[in-house]
């Protein structure tokens, strides 16, 4: 009896799926990859200290080089590196923030070259990028955030967001990992997208426990927060880009992003222009609360937050309510956000990294095997398909 109990407890302790298929670690120098390759030269000791003490916010200096199709397109640009992210810093492969000493001239698209750029965005000057481990999706698909963001871009919604693509990253000529090169969602990123200097940006971020005023006119942020607090709708109307706000809420609720709105939310303004919201870090989508209505998703009773409050101040007004649902319906009718569109994006991203993911498996065991990767991809697509049906039924 005791042995049986011991056996049960032992098995419960190893409760994850384990795959025993062996895949060889391919030699990186022999890969004929179509992915861009980034090599960052750093002091090894400093790099190890930075990646092992993630709470210390250590910044180190490095030299950034990049290859596209085997051609050196960026050579030894001076950069500062820092580990970024929250929960995902626990993974063996960290997200790295890369800040160029001087703004990088990306007019030739050598640094970042997305398939499509929204008409109101500019990627000619890049101050900083992020080499992202796909956040909580790191041990799963590696492409959820990337694919959902591409879906938003292809839908041409009135959004400010990030642009990214998968890359192979080397540190001091040694393979480090498969990461997603992505523009920043911070003041540097928004300044770049809008073609202005960082000084012109006022930005605040909403995290799980607090609102952080990051840059710019803090008095204006305070006044904005006070208007939410006292439900001053007239003031808020003057301060917010309503069309952007509606599209932002629609997209986040459509994909059922449950690591939002209490977290992963930012709003910013250029000079005295209206506040707009930034879409980023979508790896919390398509996991939980997939049967919930869009309003349930925004409600987010777990963590009180100003974004929920802001929405329901507006939603109490009939004009806004009508505009919100009319826009939701028109997006659904247009089918610009649909399973088919999402699947074609995902398929393209899979094709891009299906060879390189084996290196990730070899080095980081994340995901554990190709089969496990396919299971996670299948789950992501299945849950998108389910969510699409739910949203159509609920909204219509």
């Amino acid at each position: 009896m005791r042995k049986l109990l011991f056996f049960i407890i032992l098995t419960l302790a190893f409760s994850c799926s384990k795959f025993y298929e062996n895949y060889e670690l391919l030699d990186i120098t022999e890969i004929e990859t179509e992915l861009p390759i980034i090599n960052i030269g750093v002091n090894c000791d400093e790099f190890n200290e930075m990646t092992s003490q993630v709470d210390e916010e250590i910044e180190i200096k490095g030299q950034f080089s990049m290859f596209r199709n085997g051609v050196l397109v960026i050579e030894n640009e001076k950069v500062e590196l820092e580990v970024k992210g929250g929960f995902s810093t626990r993974f063996s492969l960290k997200t790295l923030g890369v800040k160029f000493e001087n703004k990088y001239d990306n007019s030739d698209r050598s640094l970042i070259n997305p398939n499509k750029i929204l008409p109101h965005h500019n990627l000619d000057k890049i101050k900083a990028i992020r080499l992202r481990n796909s956040g909580n999706d790191f041990v799963k698909t590696m492409i959820k955030d990337l694919s959902l963001t591409q879906l938003a871009i292809n839908a041409e919604l009135n959004l400010d967001l990030t642009y990214g693509e998968p890359v192979l990253v080397y540190i001091n000529n040694e393979f480090h990992g498969l990461l997603n090169l992505r523009t920043e969602a911070n003041s540097n990123g928004m300044a770049g997208l809008n073609g202005v200097k960082k000084d012109a940006v006022t930005l605040a971020k909403i995290t799980t426990h607090k609102l952080i005023k990051k840059d710019g006119d803090f008095d204006r942020i305070d006044a904005f927060l006070e208007a939410i607090n006292v439900e001053n709708l007239k003031y808020l109307k003057d301060e917010i880009d309503i069309d952007n706000f509606i599209d932002y809420i629609i997209f986040q609720t459509y994909i059922s992003n449950t690591d939002w709105p209490h977290n992963n939310a930012r709003f910013y303004a250029i000079g005295q222009e209206k506040f707009r919201f930034v879409l980023f870090d979508l790896d919390g989508a398509l996991r939980l609360r997939l049967s919930k209505t869009p309003l349930n998703i925004i409600e987010d009773k777990r963590f009180p937050n100003i974004l929920t409050d802001l929405f329901f101040i507006f939603y109490a007004e009939e004009n806004f309510k009508n505009a919100f649902w009319n826009r939701y319906n028109s997006i659904l009718e247009s089918r610009i956000i649909s399973y088919n569109n999402f699947k074609s994006i995902v398929d393209a991203n899979i094709a891009q990294i299906e060879l390189e993911i084996q290196l990730q498996i070899g080095k980081h065991q994340a995901p554990s095997t190709i089969i496990e990767w396919n299971i996670e991809l299948d789950k992501m697509l299945t849950l998108f398909q389910y969510r699409e049906q739910v949203v159509y039924e609920l909204v219509e």
Binding site: L4, F14, S15, C16, N136, R287, I375, D378, K379
Partner: protein
């Protein structure tokens, strides 16, 4: 309203546990398999598994010699198959909550139809939370028990899942299973002994 009935049922059955402290431990093993499985748009062939379940159950309600039992069990599945010409092997653990009625047919033979609730995704997966779509699955089961001696039984079971769950959730725990095993019952109240 349904939730309230459910709660009353469990309070009621909890009192019955005190009155009817019959316990059973069991160990089953067998094979499981799928038909027409697809994973990420590619067909999976030869999808099968070797299954081992181990756990215990309590009698929570009895009328004459018929009784209802609920239990908890670990279920280890050694699944394998071929996808895109790649052979895979995977070991998975599931936590199972069996609920079954047991009817005696003769002095030695009993039949036990029931249900098995079990998790559909790994216990250590960050997505293992209430609210996850397809978090649970419900398998139907029918079993036969044969009394060998001294409350030791030999058992056979057939399990299947008829839910409309995406293929991906049957990948490492196939939907059909045939099991044989042994079971030991413990009785405090000897009048119910078989």
């Amino acid at each position: 309203m349904k939730k309230r009935h459910f709660l009353f049922f469990f309070i009621f059955t909890a009192f019955e546990v005190i009155a009817q402290p019959d316990r059973t431990i069991f160990l089953n093993s067998g094979f499981s398999f799928n038909n027409n499985l697809q994973l990420n748009a590619a067909k999976v062939t030869n999808s099968k598994g070797y299954v081992l379940t181990y756990g215990g159950s309590l009698t929570v309600f009895s009328v004459k010699e018929k009784y209802l039992s609920i239990g908890i069990a670990g279920k280890t599945i050694f699944a394998s198959g071929v996808r895109n010409a790649e052979k895979f092997n995977v070991v998975t653990l599931r936590l199972v909550f069996p609920l079954k009625m047991v009817f005696p047919l003769t002095e030695k033979w009993l039949v036990s139809p029931g249900f098995n609730f079990q998790n559909n995704i790994d216990l250590n997966d960050p997505d293992f939370r209430l609210g996850y779509k397809n978090l649970w699955r419900l398998d139907y089961s029918v079993g036969m028990k044969y009394l060998i001696k001294n409350q030791w039984f030999m058992t056979t079971k057939v399990k299947l899942n008829l839910q409309n769950i995406p293929d991906v959730f049957f990948f490492n725990d196939p939907k059909f299973a045939l099991l044989v095993g042994i079971e030991k019952s413990f009785f405090k109240d000897t009048k119910n002994n078989l």
